[in-house]
């Protein structure tokens, strides 16, 4: 198991690398551009820290590498593995889609066969509960990058990892921001 701070260190390293590249490429960026660049490099760095093991990281990398300008950033941060990771995501995405669609069809057929004979109130309550859960998983899927292609089990795993990474990212960024402020003040 990786020690916790190594995640942050790795993230920071890669982030700085990405930022360097951004600054060298374009001078005199507007604040929004800078913000975008910062966020993008942070996300990609975070994703690369996972080495392609998680779905969300691959999704981020794939999304980033769609645009030409960002692709170089991705490549810079990822290094030699970038091609492999990008290719991996493309292949798994389509497969996941088909798998999940077929699973949904199967599940629907099971449900029709096994209709529970409950009282109407109980049936209604369970229906409402299921509807709520379904609705909220949809929302969660929209939040997690690459979440649309996951089934429930994978989604929860990815959420776990994503939350951890986000936390580390927030910590590092916060400290960097505070130190930058202090340095600027001095």
């Amino acid at each position: 198991m990786r020690p916790p701070s190594s995640l942050k260190q790795e993230f920071l390293k890669k982030w700085i690398m990405g930022l360097q590249r951004c600054s060298t490429v374009k001078k005199n960026m507007s604040i929004l551009e800078r913000k975008k660049a910062i966020k993008l490099s942070a996300d990609v760095a975070m994703a690369s820290a996972r080495n392609g093991k998680t779905c969300w990281s691959r999704a981020i990398i794939a999304n980033a590498s769609k645009h030409g300008s960002d692709k170089h950033l991705v490549e810079k941060i990822l290094g030699p593995e970038s091609e492999r990771l990008i290719a991996k995501k493309v292949s798994t995405g389509a497969l996941c889609n088909n798998r999940i669609r077929s699973k949904k069809i199967l599940k629907r057929s099971w449900g029709i066969r096994r209709t529970r004979k409950c009282a109407p109130q109980v049936a209604l309550a369970s229906f409402i509960a299921k509807w709520l859960v379904r609705k909220r998983t949809k929302v969660l899927k929209s939040l997690i990058p690459g979440g649309e292609f996951m089934n429930e089990v994978c989604l929860i795993e990815e959420t776990l990892d994503y939350i951890i990474s986000l936390r580390a990212q927030v910590d590092v960024m916060r400290t960097l921001a505070s130190t930058s402020e202090i340095v600027n003040h001095n």
């Binding site: 701070s5 966020k39 089990v153 986000l166 916060r174």
Partner: protein, 436 residues
């Protein structure tokens, strides 16, 4: 057909119970007149239950009309599938006492309603027997003949059949409970019986224990507790092989999901009190949204702070230190970071313990004067010193480093330590060493 019953009874000595019923024949004759009125109902009922076993039908032929019909209705519900047959046979053995009970009913001269009430009072009867009898009596008392009887018959049949499908069906258990309750209370209206299953379904809980307690109590009520088997509380095997696999797979999947939700509960603050998927998912989505918003805000802040995206090296060094400092602070984040992939190797205790130790050591303010000590500490709470050196060399090539390193670094250390509140005495030697 019913007129032939007493003759058959007199001439035949089919079973012991008939001999015992001999003294009751007088009362039976009195009842016959009443029962003639009920013949139409009973015949229909018998028609409903006529597809039962030969035993029951033999009984029908052999017993007196009133008793026979009651026993008829009594036997048939249990005589559905095979285990019911055995219970029916066991009931036969107990019919003598039942007959006594019914014989008491015979003393009551009056309309069939009185007989029904008498049946109510005979709490000694086996519960299902009485329940079925009462139910069927209730049917005919209402005057809704074939439809209701068939309904009830099917309902009773359904309930006995349903009860064999253990966990899935609520209503069967409800009806079982209702039956036993009716026997205990002996005070419910007949009309409520048919509507009873419908109204009580909502109040019942899907609990196997309740079923068993109902059987136990019904056993206590009945005198034949030894002989009577819990006939309507069968827990049969589940459905066929194919669905078993599916249900098993689903169960495994559900357990997986619940296990992961537990991890998430530890991770997301404020989720301890929430149970259930929907609430948990709500909390998780809101937490993820808040984290993402924080990232946005911080990136905006960083963009605002730096007119150009240059993060000086001295800044970076300080940043490295702070990064390592923050990791040593045991927060919830620690536990979360323990749950790195693979998550299932969830071993937070060791890491937390080690980090706490390091924190303690640091808190004591031990002076580290040699790089070796610092490196040793990196084992427990990984500090960024090796990485800092790496970064240093790589960044030096690209960034302009400030002239007076030591001074700035010292300033940063002081500032940083004041801010973070830690007394981490990082030696300046390694940094000077890599300054090259």
């Amino acid at each position: 057909m019913n007129n032939a019953f007493p003759e058959i009874l007199q001439c035949s000595d089919m079973t012991v119970l008939e001999r015992q019923k001999a003294p009751l024949q007088r009362q039976q004759e009195q009842l016959q007149q009443q029962e003639k009125q009920q013949q139409s109902y009973f015949s229909e009922l018998r028609g409903v239950f006529s597809n039962q076993t030969s035993h029951v039908q033999g009984l029908q032929g052999g017993l007196l009309s009133g008793d026979s019909l009651l026993c008829d209705m009594v036997m048939t519900p249990q005589a559905k599938p095979d285990p019911g047959l055995e219970t029916a046979r066991s009931e036969l053995g107990n019919i003598d006492i039942a007959g006594m009970g019914f014989g008491q009913c015979g003393y009551v001269n009056g309309p069939s309603f009185d007989m029904n009430y008498a049946i109510y009072r005979t709490s000694s009867c086996p519960p299902a027997v009485v329940a079925a009898a009462v139910a069927t009596e209730g049917v005919e008392a209402k005057g809704k003949e074939s439809v209701e009887s068939e309904k009830l018959g099917s309902a009773i049949g359904r309930e006995s059949f349903k009860k064999r499908k253990a966990d899935k069906l609520h209503c069967s258990k409800v009806v079982a409970e209702d039956d036993s309750k009716r026997i205990k209370a002996c005070a419910e209206e007949r009309e409520s019986k048919i509507t009873g299953p419908n109204t009580n379904k909502s109040s019942s809980s899907n609990n196997n224990n309740k079923k068993q307690t109902s059987t136990e109590t019904s056993k206590e009520n009945s005198k034949f507790s030894k002989v009577q088997k819990p006939d309507y509380i069968h827990v049969r095997a589940r459905r066929g092989q194919a669905t078993d696999r599916h249900s098993l797979a689903e169960r495994v999947r559900r357990e997986k999901i619940s296990e992961r939700m537990k991890y998430l509960q530890d991770l997301v603050p404020g989720c301890n009190k929430i149970t259930g998927k929907a609430g948990m998912l709500d909390e998780i989505t809101s937490y993820v949204q808040s984290l993402q918003q924080q990232v946005e805000l911080l990136s905006m802040k960083l963009a605002a702070v730096n007119p150009k995206l240059d993060f000086n090296i001295d800044n970076l060094f300080a940043k490295q230190l702070f990064a390592s400092c923050t990791t040593t602070f045991p927060t919830v984040g620690m536990l979360s970071e323990m749950a790195n992939p693979p998550y299932l190797q969830f071993n937070p205790v060791q890491q937390v313990v080690s980090c706490r130790e390091v924190e303690m050591g640091m808190g004591m303010g031990m002076e580290i004067n040699s790089p070796d000590m610092a490196l040793q500490r990196t084992i427990n709470a990984p500090l960024s010193i090796p990485d800092a050196s790496f970064l240093d060399s790589s960044c030096l090539a690209q960034f302009q480093s400030s002239a007076a390193w030591d001074v700035e670094l010292q300033n940063l250390y002081n500032v940083g330590f004041d801010q973070e509140g830690s007394t981490t005495p990082f030696p300046s030697q390694p940094f000077t060493g890599t300054k090259s």
